[in-house]
């Protein structure tokens, strides 16, 4: 019969809406409102996975986000998702889940032999075993990745849509349990804009799983009334299924909302997940607490469950998690579970209590109900293959470090474990608040906040319901007041409720194992010997593993964590961390706070990559900048390359040409007749003001005051460290007006550099800077026929005497207002024509049509690189890398000796002129057809194998059709002194010998340039 373990009534499930789902191929039924875990338990399924390292059978351990065991693979194909906590997956019709980390089946798993061989895979196993030999790592890795790991990656591109949104509020309340709801009510009543976020499907928090009362009525009535009030308020936003995952600086938080994961058929219009980027003036943390297990031998069998989770399954889901239960506790809260289980018809076989004299309201109620209480007892072992069938209990000595007498057996199919509570201090700690150890409650609680944060309820160490409500109300009112909203009206009546916490308790981190035959008196064998006592269920870390790490010399808790992997994985040690710290403290005999805590880092629980990506995918990932002439390049079939965000024509293949053939043709055409380049991407900065020339004097290495209006000059820009930062031609348009050009990729950094100096160091200079890169289209004409063609478009006298190299004119070109600059980056006579961006395409088309008779050839960035390399012109960022100064480039000619400029003083440091600095040279390979790879290392003395002393590297390398051989530029230690010598480039499988030359290969006297 289906749902054998479903209670006849009760719970937050909708029994009129049955839901079918599949787990490991088998069909089951649950109800709307179930989690996958509660629905499995309703069908008597506890075994849901195999553990990470030992492949031990594992069951559902919790009812919340802390779940370390019940991780399943959800969905199929591209929508398949691994490591989903069954406790958090809401059931919907047709849900399909599979267990992970098992083969061939969950019940019979071959990897389980790992458990037998566990002595061979101790803590730090990976570090110890797979370090050597490194060459075999790839093989090890293959085996390890198959054996370990949890779940499988999806099989295709994610078909779902994700979204991001920004929001602001006065008060963010994290957690909609009693404290959070009380805080939200108080803040909202004061008039604050409130966001209340909760990770669960419905608000209520722990109240959903407890039989508490408020004002004499069921607590959930109070929850419903609170929600109704909040929902009526337009200044309140209640977000369910929304985890506040990250707390960053200045009240900036990330909220992860699962919008449609709970729906069988999500509406098209909705994104699957949504990431909220929220700025809150004040934050109230009411995040609750997470129950802690106890560390004892055999504590990982399916059927072992946190006591609070048992209550949640009974009360919230109407599920009996077993038929015959043992409760194992060290504090009073375990008794509440015993009472709830008994009320649900579960036989209580015994309450095993570490305390010698159990007392407190819950234990008194249990005794009144005649539940079998076994004080001063501990569990020393468990039995059962794929489900617990019995526990072994023994009497504990007064010190709590050894057992007295032989163990007795107690049959059960459920073991509820209550080891105390850990306040959920994660977000408080992420916000850099400090924690303090509460010795009475044995937990870390918030201490000093570093941001506008208030804590209320269980996450603040207040476990009683009345205290939660009181702290919540106070925190909400205070947060609103801090945000500028004073409470209005009279005092309201505070809701009344019980106020029981977990105390009194007997806190023991390390529970002793069973006596072995032959043990004399007080046995104190290390915990975990004679059976595994797990600290971290998800990572299979035992108490013995921790002890081993400490014996091996690990001291810092951060190191112990990384070496043993305790507290890592998808659950980040939510149930294990404090136990691990307690065991370490016991080992060293120090108080627990002396050990410290590992760092809490965002996110609190896993967040999908989709949520972080949102819609920033594909074309929306990064803007693409296109020139006004881009459409023409596309029509011409250009191949493009990305230069920063710009998309530039790389080459224009014709009739099946490859890169090499196309570039050769473009380069030759440029030297033989005329080539045209779209240079619109060059950075253009308009510089105006009476101090513009003085400003350039300080920025560039060369002098600018005497540059005549209508003339252009090449400039080199250094950082204050003396290294080359950028270069380009700057032209004087008027007495107080210059136009600077920068390299394409450096336009924004150069403008920022200029602004920084102008605003922070020389505010007295009257200069204005404006980026005009996108306001102009730039056509660059190069080659012997450039003048002839251009003269068809302008009345300007272009003859070399009237308009020589490095001059400019403001005129008209083809009837379009234009600036013509006679400059060249190819070594040919060249003209750069700037026209308004909107006219660029028209002029380009007109020039192409008129140039047909000269076989005008459009060329791309690759041909431009070859042409400039033939001339030895550097490219900043290719021949320079932030460690190259003007001396290194042989550009002393452009460095003024008279005036000061940025970087000048650094150039005079002794290190900047050392003869063995890397200097720019040319390289000619002995084999004229061999093209050196850019980046190749160069050596002087060849050896048969590395290591060899490297003396430099190749920075640019091409085949040059004009010279009919390969050419290269390189930076070589003491390179100028090596001119004429031969050095070597050892490459994969071959070595290329090359002669060091001057870094210029074509027209060294520059006749063509000036012609």
């Amino acid at each position: 019969m289906a749902q054998d373990f479903r209670l006849p009534d009760g719970g937050r499930i909708d029994r009129s809406k049955p839901v079918s789902f599949r787990f490991d191929g088998k069909s089951y039924q649950g109800f709307k409102g179930d989690s996958l875990a509660s629905a499995l338990l309703a069908n008597g399924v506890h075994l849901v996975g195999r553990s990470f390292k030992y492949h031990r059978p594992r069951g559902i351990f919790s009812a919340g986000v802390e779940e370390p065991n019940a991780l399943v693979q959800l969905g199929r194909g591209a929508r398949s998702e691994p490591n989903i906590r069954a406790t958090q997956a809401e059931l919907f019709e047709g849900l399909e889940a599979r267990s992970q980390n098992r083969w061939p089946s969950l019940e019979y798993d071959i990897g389980e032999v790992n458990s037998l061989a566990s002595r061979l895979i101790p803590a730090g196993f990976y570090y110890k075993t797979f370090m050597w030999p490194a060459a075999l790592w790839e093989r090890y890795e293959y085996v390890i990745r198959r054996a370990a790991g949890l779940g499988k990656a999806p099989e295709g591109r994610d078909p779902d849509r994700y979204d991001k949104t920004h929001a602001h509020c006065d008060v963010l309340v994290v957690g909609a349990g009693p404290a959070g709801l009380a805080a939200a009510l108080a803040a909202a009543r004061a008039g604050a804009r409130v966001v209340l976020a909760d990770e669960q499907a419905e608000p209520g928090g722990a109240l959903l799983g407890l039989a508490e009362e408020i004002d004499g009525k069921p607590a959930l009535d109070w929850v419903a009334a609170a929600l109704a009030e909040l929902e009526k308020n337009d200044d309140v936003r209640v977000l369910t299924r929304t985890t506040v995952s990250s707390f960053y600086d200045h009240g900036y938080l990330a909220l992860f909302e699962r919008v449609t994961d709970h729906l069988a058929q999500p509406p098209e219009a909705l994104p699957r997940h949504r990431l909220w980027k929220l700025r809150a003036k004040q934050v109230v943390l009411a995040a609750g607490a997470i129950e802690r297990p106890l560390v004892f031998t055999g504590n990982d069998r399916p059927g072992v469950m946190l006591a609070g989770a048992c209550r949640t399954y009974v009360k919230r889901y109407g599920v009996r998690p077993g038929k015959r239960a043992v409760v194992f506790t060290n504090n009073d809260s375990g008794y509440g579970a015993a009472l709830d289980l008994q009320a649900a018809g579960v036989t209580i076989a015994g309450i095993v209590d570490l305390r010698p004299d159990p007392e407190g309201p819950c234990s008194e109620a249990a005794e009144a109900a005649r539940l079998p209480v076994l004080p001063a007892q501990t569990i020393v072992g468990t039995e059962g293959r794929n489900r617990i069938s019995a526990v072994k209990i023994a009497r504990l000595n007064d010190a709590g470090d050894a057992v007295l007498g032989e163990a007795e057996r107690l049959d059960c199919d459920l073991l509820a474990v209550a080891g105390g509570w850990n306040p959920t201090v994660h977000l408080f700690s992420q916000a850099k608040g400090s924690l303090k150890w509460d010795p009475e409650l044995a937990c870390y609680v918030p201490d000093e906040p570093r941001q506008a944060v208030l804590c209320a309820g269980a996450c603040n160490g207040a476990f009683g319901l009345q205290s939660c409500l009181k702290q919540g109300t106070e925190a909400g009112a205070k947060a609103a007041a801090e945000a500028g909203f004073k409470a209005k009206g009279g005092r309201r009546k505070q809701p009344k409720a019980g106020d029981q916490g977990p105390l009194p308790a007997r806190w023991l981190w390390k529970l002793p194992p069973a006596k072995k035959p032959g043990d004399k008196g007080l046995a104190d064998r290390p915990a975990g010997q004679g059976g595994k006592a797990f600290v971290d269920l998800q990572n299979d870390v035992t108490a013995a593993d921790l002890a081993l790490a400490l014996r091996e010399g690990y001291r810092s808790i951060e190191h112990v964590k990384r070496y043993t992997t305790t507290g890592m994985g998808t659950d980040q040690g939510k149930t294990s961390n404090v136990n691990a710290i307690g065991l370490v403290a016991d080992h060293f005999g120090v108080p627990l706070p002396a050990v410290g805590v590992t760092t809490f880092r965002p996110p609190y629980t896993p967040v999908s990559f989709g949520a972080y990506a949102g819609r920033d995918l594909d074309d929306l990932l990064d803007p693409v900048r296109k020139t006004p002439i881009h459409a023409w390049h596309e029509q011409a079939g250009a191949a493009f390359e990305d230069v920063g965000q710009w998309r530039r024509p790389w080459y224009y293949p014709r009739g099946g040409e490859d890169l090499h053939a196309a570039v050769n043709r473009e380069v030759l055409a440029c030297r033989e007749s005329i080539g045209i380049l779209d240079a619109s991407t060059l950075g253009k900065i308009d510089i105006q003001g009476p101090d513009a020339a003085e400003f350039l004097n300080r920025i560039y290495t060369n002098a600018w005051s005497k540059l005549e209006v209508g003339r252009c000059r090449y400039g080199l820009m250094l950082g204050e460290d003396g290294m080359v930062m950028d270069d380009g031609v700057t032209s004087r348009l008027g007495e107080t007006h210059f136009l600077m050009t920068t390299t394409t990729g450096n336009a924004a950094p150069v403008l920022a550099h200029l602004e920084e100096w102008l605003q922070t160091e020389w505010p007295e200079l009257k200069v204005h800077l404006t980026s005009v890169t996108e306001q102009f289209a730039t056509l660059s004409l190069s080659g012997p026929n450039a003048r002839r063609l251009l003269s068809e478009f302008t009345e300007l006298d272009l003859s070399p005497n009237a308009f020589p190299h490095m001059t400019l004119a403001e005129t008209e070109v083809g009837g379009i207002p234009a600036r013509i600059f006679r400059v060249s980056f190819t070594g040919e006579a060249g003209y750069e024509i700037n026209v308004p961006a909107s006219r660029g395409l028209a002029l380009w088309q007109a020039v192409m049509a008129a140039g047909a008779k000269y076989n005008i050839t459009p060329f791309g960035t690759e041909a431009m690189h070859v042409l400039r390399a033939e001339k030895g012109y550097i490219i900043v960022g290719q021949e320079t890398d932030g460690s190259v100064n003007p001396h290194d480039l042989g550009m002393d000619w452009i460095v003024s000796k008279k005036k000061d400029f940025i970087g000048k003083r650094s150039l005079t440091r002794a290190d900047m002129d050392k003869p063995d600095r890397k200097q720019l040279v040319g390289l000619l390979t002995e084999d004229i057809d061999a093209v050196l790879p850019e980046g190749a290392q160069l050596v002087e003395h060849l050896r048969d194998k590395p290591p060899m002393t490297m003396i430099g590297h190749v920075s640019s390398s091409y085949h040059s059709p004009n010279i009919g051989r390969s050419i290269a530029l390189a930076l070589v230690k003491g390179g100028r002194a090596r001119i004429g010598h031969t050095i070597h480039a050892p490459l994969e499988g071959k070595t290329l010998a090359c002669k060091v030359t001057e870094p210029i290969f074509f027209d060294p006297t520059g006749e063509r340039l000036r012609g």
Partner: protein, 97 residues
């Protein structure tokens, strides 16, 4: 994500700004007269303060203006924002060991 109050535009997300390092490091008047060591101090050496640091920011994706910020490098609290050329306000400078 810091919330920085630009003196010209008001409170904006950190992602609109760029960082400019320690403030009030004036360029020496006569670089040629400085020893290599002194010059190196100016170019490369910064205080690495643990506590209140006077630093420069620029609203690079906003008004483009440079300004000064007094920020505690431990708590990240911003104590003051003031314009270029202004003197830093008197502050109670938290010290950390």
């Amino acid at each position: 994500m810091l919330l920085i109050v630009c003196p010209w535009c008001g409170p904006r997300d950190e992602s609109e700004f760029s960082y400019g390092g320690e403030a009030h490091i004036a360029r020496p008047k006569n670089p040629e007269k400085l020893s290599d060591e002194k010059w190196g101090d100016y170019v490369f050496m910064r205080a690495n303060t643990k506590g209140v640091l006077l630093e420069r920011w620029v609203h690079s994706h906003g008004c483009g203006r440079w300004f000064n910020v007094a920020r505690d490098t431990v708590s990240y609290r911003i104590l003051a924002v003031y314009r270029m050329g202004e003197k830093p306000p008197k502050l109670d400078k938290t010290t950390y060991v």
